[in-house]
Structures are given as structure tokens and as C-alpha cells.
Symmetry: C2
Subunit: 337 residues, 2 copies
Amino acid sequence: MDDKIRIGHGSGGSMMQTLIREVFIPAIGNPYLEAGGDAALLPFPEGALAFTTDTFVVNPLFFPGGDIGKLAVCGTLNDLAVVGAKPLYMSAAFLLEEGLDIRVLKMILASMAGEAEAAGVPVVAADTKVVEKAKADKVFIQMSGIGQVSSDKRHLSSMEKLVPGDVLIVNGSIGEHSVAVLAAREDTPLLCPAYSDCANLTGLIEEVWPFMSGIHAMRDLTRGGLATVCCEMASLRRLGIKLREEEIPVLPVTESFCELFGYEPYYLANEGKVILAVEKTMAQDVLKIWRAHPLGKQAAIIGEITDLSPDEVILHTRIGGKRRLIPLPGEQLPRIC
Amino acid sequence: MDDKIRIGHGSGGSMMQTLIREVFIPAIGNPYLEAGGDAALLPFPEGALAFTTDTFVVNPLFFPGGDIGKLAVCGTLNDLAVVGAKPLYMSAAFLLEEGLDIRVLKMILASMAGEAEAAGVPVVAADTKVVEKAKADKVFIQMSGIGQVSSDKRHLSSMEKLVPGDVLIVNGSIGEHSVAVLAAREDTPLLCPAYSDCANLTGLIEEVWPFMSGIHAMRDLTRGGLATVCCEMASLRRLGIKLREEEIPVLPVTESFCELFGYEPYYLANEGKVILAVEKTMAQDVLKIWRAHPLGKQAAIIGEITDLSPDEVILHTRIGGKRRLIPLPGEQLPRIC
């Protein structure tokens, strides 16, 4: 264990897992927190609550396809949706750097308001703190969200129903969020523009609620991307995961970005992509429903759960090879969310 | 309206009120947010929820009587308690500066854990982000809290029951939190040590639940202190407030600090003080109960609600004068919470 915080400790990779396991859990751990899903599921008189929190530190604040405000609202809604909750309320705490242009704040708020209104989920509690110049970076937003859970959806975040044979489906092409943010940050010349996939997935996820009995796991593919989520799934349930490279949707702009900079799309962050593991018998129905939804047009079956290589995520490549995807220690691209 | 964010915009004073009114509310406003209490009160199937959020940016991280971790937990619990809620769950989002000593993080977490455990309220959701050096200041913590509200307590945050004749009671001496933080920050030589009053007030507040029907308002005296809360009460209900200087408990260390630096104790921040407005007939009973509680030994009746000077808070001084306490535009001491 390091004795100083490094950028990689905020990455979603194995350095962050170590920090959580060795520093946070021993201090403030409890079964709800240790369950480690995208939102905590909490008993509540006459029902159950989903409760999630996230800080958004994306740099730059504005990027093709979104901005920190849209990102914060969508990220919060998505974390509730993937545990099977109906989002009800959000809170927002703003940490502002002295000297911030208030027009920038207004643009961010307008974007948040638009997303929140479209979702019908109000920001009901808020806080503002201002710190001195160079003690923050323009705007950080911390959002929490509360959702309501019906009891038959509670197994989703635990992944305890995952079994060999389950089919993995994603709702579209991976990696665009990282590409869009990095291109905006570095003023990177790309052959064609990249747009973040930042989107509120609650509608898309509601479409598959009728199949909830056969959906054994659901996660959004944020920090660390597809590979990191698959590694977590595999290690949590000690099962193997087989991914087929030729089936994983990747846009040409993402492919050329990866070639240019030496990244792999499987580790790039998404803000509008979700993976689910579903019983084989239901897979085609789920795929069909998602493909009919605007946020699932490129949905694809990309692999399955196996019992052949416990704890391992194996990518079957286009040229017939096999390659193990391992958890990265840190993040390829810090501050993308 | 300024076009840049200034330190005063995070103060709890009138600059912050302007920012909220002109920038935040037009963008993300809704009745729950605009109610403006310490926590939002939300309808929920079979009950009501209280939901609060705050970012903690105190500098320094450790001060006599507390630290940012204790402050975050107590502040969150208190915001729920003052709206009449029983705190159930908390979330914590950590924003860490690259290079932070992990021992410092561990000390903060241990402090949070101690307070959370003593209160029986777990941290059920958490998030960690790391930003580059000089893009944050060591540690910022954002906490949200959920509490359960029984319907007879819902009027507390609206203050709509305030009437002339109501008696104002505080649970002890004011201002020590600001004094302790500033002394720690500046290495200010004080004649005697100052300790923050940082404390979880839920137990103290539960003691007066039997009198809830006669309690017409309750607020904790954080940013902006006693004067700011009284000004808000007066302006919200268009009533006058009379405060008696000789009855307001102020420790000698706070008095000498104020004399030395030109502050007024009424504007100093507290983290373990609450004011309530109660029907005159119940005032002595409430006072007696609080004085029997460890956090209310110095409780005092400090004034009353009047109909003589609508919107005005009038301090009746020791020497027989009258002085109006007005809302400050910014904060005397930034980053005290």
C-alpha cells in the first residue's frame, strides 16, 4: 500500500480497489457499503431505497455530447437504474473555485435542469461551497440520488444469480466518452468528431423490466470500461467470462483513436452504456427490445458467462486468438467523469 | 449580480442568497429545493423522507474539538435532526488531492466511523475521486443523509407556525467553532484554548420531541451563526426577533477573540448549536430538559418572536441600547465547515 494518494487511486482500477479494501472499508465498512454496487439498497419501512453518490470532476467541463452537469445527472440516474430502482430524488453539492465565470455555472445548471426535467427527477437538496483560487478546478459537482426498489429487483447489484450460460448484452458501441473528453482536452486532431455517449439510461433499462426474473446482473460501463466491469463480475462470482471481439461494437473514430494513442477500447469509459447478463432463453427478446430503443440501436450479444476459467475474462479475438483482459491498476485517462 | 464567483458566494450570507435566488433556483428550482430548509422533506410511499447534502471544505482538516470527518458526520446528522427526522443512512463522496498522505485519510475516516457508529447511522454509499495537485486542497468530503420523518414534525423546516410570543432557546454558548478553526489555521495565540463545539445533536433534539406540537421552528447555527439564522427566520415569516445580549451565552475565550480581531460572536459559526422557537408555555420545560443533557448544560432563553419590527432582528444590549443585526453579505471566516 502506498503512503500517498496517487491519481490512480481514483481510477476504478485495482489501485482504487486496494484503497477501498485497505483504507475505507476497515474504517467505515458495513454490509450495505461492502455490497459495492452502483447504489446501496436499503431496507426502509414499507419498501426499499436505493441510495447512490458520486463526485464529478470531468476536465474539460464541456465536451462534444455533454458537460459536467448532464454527466452528473445522467450518472446518478444510471447508478440507480442499474440496481433496478426507479429514481425519485437527487441532491447536488457544488464546489466552486473562486473566480469562476458565473455564465459557466449557469450553462452547467441549465444542462442539469434539462436532464433532470426530462427524467422527471428533481434536485431537491443542494449546497454551495466556494474555495480559494487553485484550491479547486472551476467546478466539481457531487450528486446523490434516491430511488425506490421493488423487492424482485434487489438481486441485481449482488450478481448472486450469475450462472454459466448467461448471455452478455451491451446496448451499443463502447469508448466514445473517453475519446470525446480526451479530444476536447488535448485539442487532439481526430479524422472525424467523437461525441460522448452520455445519456440517461433509465428508459432503456425500464424496457427490460418485464424480463427482470432472467436478468442476473446489470452494470453501467463507466470508469474502467467494459473490461473492468467484466473482471469484477468474474471475480465476484468466481466465474469465467468469454467475450467475442468481433461482436463488441466499437465506432471507427474510437478504433483510430485507440490505434493512435495506444489505448484499448475495452478500458475506455462510457456514460451511456450498460451491460446485462441474462438467461440464454431470454437473450434474443432483450436484444430485440433494446434495438428498438433509441439508446440501444447498436445493442449486441458480446459474450457469455462460463465455468471454464474461473475469475478470468477471456477475449476471443477476430483472428482466432485468446487474450486475457486483466484489471488495470490505475486509469488510462483521469478525470473523465 | 457579479459575473465571477467570489469567496463570499459560499458564505451563507446575502451574497450566497443572491447566487441561489438568481442562478440556482431559476435553473434547477422546484418546491422541495425552494423550501430551503436544512434538509428536503419528500413524500415517499408510506412515509416521508428527509434528504440533505453538504460539502465540507474546512481548513485546517484537524482543529481542537474535531476534524473534517467528525464535522461531516455531525453536520449531516444535525441537518436531518433539525427538520424533525430520525437519521437512517449517510453517503460520503471523497475528493482527494494527489499526494495526500494516506495516514491523514485514515485518521479522518476513523473519526467519521466513530461518530457514525455512536449515532448508529451507517455510511452506506461512497465514492472516491482523485484530482491533480493544486486542483483541490487535500480532502473535501461531500455527505448526504436520509432520514425518516413522522408527519407531525413536517412543519419544522417551513417555520410556518412561528408566531409572536414564541420563545427562542439555544442549547449553549455560541461561536467556539469559528474561534477554534481560526486559531488552528493562523496559529493565533489565544490566552486559553478554544475547542470547536462540533457535536451530533440528534440525542439533544430527540429529548424535545414530546414538545414537538409547540416547537414552531428549529435550525442549527452553522455558517453565518445566530444572527444569520435569526435574520432568515424574521424575513421568512415577516416577524420581528428580539434578542437579549446578556442572555446569549458566549465563552470568555470567544469574547476575547472577538475583541482581538473585531468579530461579533453572533455571526460566528457553530457546529453543535441549535436554536428553537417554542410556545411560551412550554419554554421552561424545554429549557429544563436541555439543561439536563450533556450538550445543553448552558441552554438559555435568549429572546422571542415579536410583531413590533417585522423582518428585523433587534439586539437589546447589556447597557440598555438596541441594535439591529443585519445579514452579512459574505462570510467573516471562509472554509470553517
